[in-house]
Symmetry: C2
Subunit: 351 residues, 2 copies
C-alpha cells in the first residue's frame, strides 16, 4: 500500500527569534543536525528509505516557495507537488487541501500528514509506528500518533487512549491541549495519556467525509481554492479569494475532538520533540565561536559572531548577524514579547 506524505510547512517563525524569521521559520533552521528540520522530515519518509512512500507533497506559505525549492535542491531530491497558501488557515484547512488534492487521483489513497518542524531522531521507529496505523487508516480511521510522555510538559497536547482496535492501536477517547502542571503530572502517571505529535495517517476519502460532517466550510473553501488554483513556476498557488474566507482552526479542534473515527497509535517512543522555544534547544558546545567561562546551564547559539559568556548562568544567548537575544532560560514568553515590541517599533527588517 502506497502512502502519500504531505508535509505541513506553515510555521510563522517567531518562537525561535532571532534565528527564525518570517522568511525563514524554524523548520528551515539547522538547529539539531547539519540538515534543517524540513529536510529531516523529507528524508524520514523518502521513497529511498521505504519504497511505499510517494515523493512528498508540501503545503506551505506562499513566501516560502523559493526556500522549499532550495531545501530539496540541497538534498538533490525531486519533490512531489508544492502547494502554496496565500494566507495561513491552520491545520484543518491544510488537511482539507491535502485530501482534496490527493483524492483527485485516488480517493482511497493513504495520506501521512505531518509538520515540517518536529525533531524525530528515530526514523525507523517512526516508520514502524506508521506501519501499525495502516490497518486502522484503511478501515476509515484517522490515526494519530501518541508519543510516550517523558515529563509533565504543559505546552503539548495530550490524547487519552480508549477501546483497543489492534496491537498498539486504540480509539482516541479524549483530547486535552496544554494542561496545567498538576493535570500533566496525573497524565504522566496514569499511563493512558500520550503527547499528540500532530501527525496523522488517513484515507483522503475518510478525511473529506469527516470534514464534511464537522467542518463543511473548511472543506468547501479548500476545494474551491484548489479548483481556482494556478501553476506558478513549479508550485500550485491556491486561489486567494477562495481560500481566505476559510475558517482558521486546528485539525484537532475541527475534526479529531468531534469525530468517532479518531484512532491513536501508542506508545510511540522515537525521541520526538516539538522544539517550541529556545529552552528546548541544546546548547552549542564551546568551539570556534562560543567561549563560556564559569556559570552553567546557558543555552548559547550563534550563526556567526563569537559569543563570550563569563560567569552567567541559565541564560538564553542567541546571536545572529543583525540581532542578539539575551533572556532567562525559563522564560520562553520573553521571545514573544521581544517580537511584539519589534513589530510595534516597525522593525520588519528584523522579523
Amino acid at each position: 500500500m502506497k502512502i502519500q506524505p504531505v508535509i505541513m510547512s506553515g510555521g510563522s517563525g517567531t518562537r525561535l527569534w532571532p534565528m527564525s524569521r518570517q522568511n525563514r521559520p524554524k523548520q528551515f533552521l539547522k538547529l539539531v543536525t547539519d540538515k534543517s528540520m524540513f529536510q529531516e522530515t523529507v528524508l524520514r519518509v523518502s521513497p529511498e528509505v521505504d519504497p511505499n512512500f510517494e515523493p512528498p507533497v508540501v503545503i506551505a506559505g506562499a513566501k516560502h516557495g523559493p526556500v522549499i525549492t532550495e531545501e530539496f535542491r540541497e538534498l538533490d531530491m525531486v519533490p512531489g507537488d508544492i502547494i502554496l497558501e496565500p494566507c495561513a488557515r491552520n491545520t484543518a484547512a491544510v488537511a482539507a487541501v491535502a485530501s482534496a488534492w490527493v483524492a483527485r487521483h485516488d480517493d482511497d489513497a493513504l495520506i501521512l500528514l505531518m509538520p515540517a518542524d518536529h525533531h524525530i531522531p528515530d526514523g525507523e521507529g517512526f516508520r514502524a509506528a506508521i506501519a501499525k496505523a495502516v490497518k486502522a487508516a484503511e478501515d476509515g480511521y484517522i490515526a494519530i500518533f501518541g508519543i510516550k510522555p517523558t515529563r509533565p510538559h504543559t505546552g503539548y497536547g495530550y490524547i487519552q487512549t480508549g477501546e483497543a482496535l489492534s496491537d498498539s492501536v486504540y480509539k482516541a477517547a479524549a483530547f486535552r491541549e496544554k494542561p496545567d502542571r498538576k493535570t500533566a503530572e496525573a497524565y504522566l502517571a496514569d499511563g493512558r495519556h500520550y503527547w499528540n505529535a500532530g501527525i496523522f495517517l488517513f484515507r483522503a476519502s475518510a478525511m473529506l467525509e469527516e470534514l464534511k460532517n464537522h467542518a463543511p466550510e473548511i472543506k468547501s473553501a479548500a476545494i474551491a481554492a484548489l479548483d481556482k488554483s494556478v501553476m506558478s513556476g513549479a508550485a500550485i498557488r491556491l486561489d486567494e479569494d477562495a481560500f481566505s474566507p476559510c475558517p482558521s482552526n486546528s485539525l484537532d479542534y475541527a475534526v479529531m475532538e468531534k469525530t468517532a473515527k479518531a484512532a491513536i497509535v501508542a506508545p510511540v517512543d522515537v525521541g520526538w520533540t516539538d522544539i517550541g522555544s529556545w529552552s528546548e534547544v541544546e546548547t552549542q558546545p564551546q568551539g570556534r565561536n562560543v567561549v563560556v567561562l564559569g556559570g552553567a546551564g546557558n543555552i548559547i547559539r550563534t550563526e556567526g559572531p563569537l559569543v563570550a559568556a563569563a560567569g552567567v548562568s541559565d541564560l538564553i544567548i542567541i546571536a545572529v548577524d543583525d540581532a542578539v537575544l539575551v533572556a532567562p532560560r525559563d522564560n520562553a514568553q520573553a521571545v514573544r514579547e521581544i517580537v511584539e515590541e519589534l513589530k510595534k517599533r516597525g522593525r520588519e527588517d528584523l522579523l
Copy 2:
C-alpha cells in the same frame, strides 16, 4: 606662558573588549559623546579654546599611527608632532620621550602630559585647574591633579596632600595605588586624599632632572631612541633597538613617589572618569538597536546588531559585528579572562 600638551595614547585595549581591540584601544571609541575620548582630549586643550596651548604632541603605539591621523582629520585639525613607540614601555618612558623631545626646542617649556582615554566633561574647570598649577611647575615642581573622590573606588590611585604651596596647590605627601575597600573609605572620609588623574604639568627640564635622579636608564633609553628616530610619513618613529631595553615603569612609581618635587592641585572637581571597565560605562538608552523588556541595571552597548534583553538584570551585554560579550555587571575581571581565553585559542582576529 605657552603650554605644550602631550597626549599619551598607549592603551592596549583589552578592558573594553569586544569594542576595544588591539588596533582600536578604548581612547578611539565613541563611548560617551559623538567624539572619541582621544578627540575629546585633543579638543580640551586645543589652541582654539585657549591660545596658551600649542598644537598637541601625541605619543602612541606604532600601529596606531593611521588611526591617530584619521582622528585629527575628522576634527579638521592639524596635530603637533606624532611620536610612535615600537613597543609599550609605560608612562615613565613616555614622560622621558616627551621631555627630551620638547627640550630640544625649549628646555624650560611647560608640558601638560595626559592620557588620551579619560573622560572629563568640565573642560573649563580642567583648564582652570591647569592655570592653578602653572606657578608650581614654573618653580620646578611636577604638578599632578587630584580629583575630589566621590566614592571609595578601589581601582584608582590616591594622593595625599602635604604642605600648602599656594591656593589649592600642595606638596604631594604620599601615593597609594588601588587601596582596599576599608582604606578607600577612610581616604574618602579624611578629605586629604584625592584620585590621581594621571595628568602632569611640569617643565621639560624639571622632568629630565628628576628622571636623571630616580630613573636614569629610562631617561637615557628615551634620549637614545629619539636620537636614532626616523620620520615615517607624518610621524616620528622611535628607534626600536634603543627603546626596547627601556625599563617599563609608571611615572608614579619611577619618579613621583620618590621625588621631593611632587605637587598636587586639589580638589579638582571636573567630572573626571577613567573608564576602565564596562561597569563604568553608561548604558545605551533604548532605541533603534536596543530593546529592553523588564529587568534592570543592565549595561548594554551595540555597534550594530540589535540587542534584545528580556527579563535579565545587572548584566553587561556588548555587541559588535563579530563578537558578543555577556557577563555580570559586577565582574570586570570577566573581560580580562575572556581576552586571555581568546589569546589561548589563537583568535587574534578578535583581539
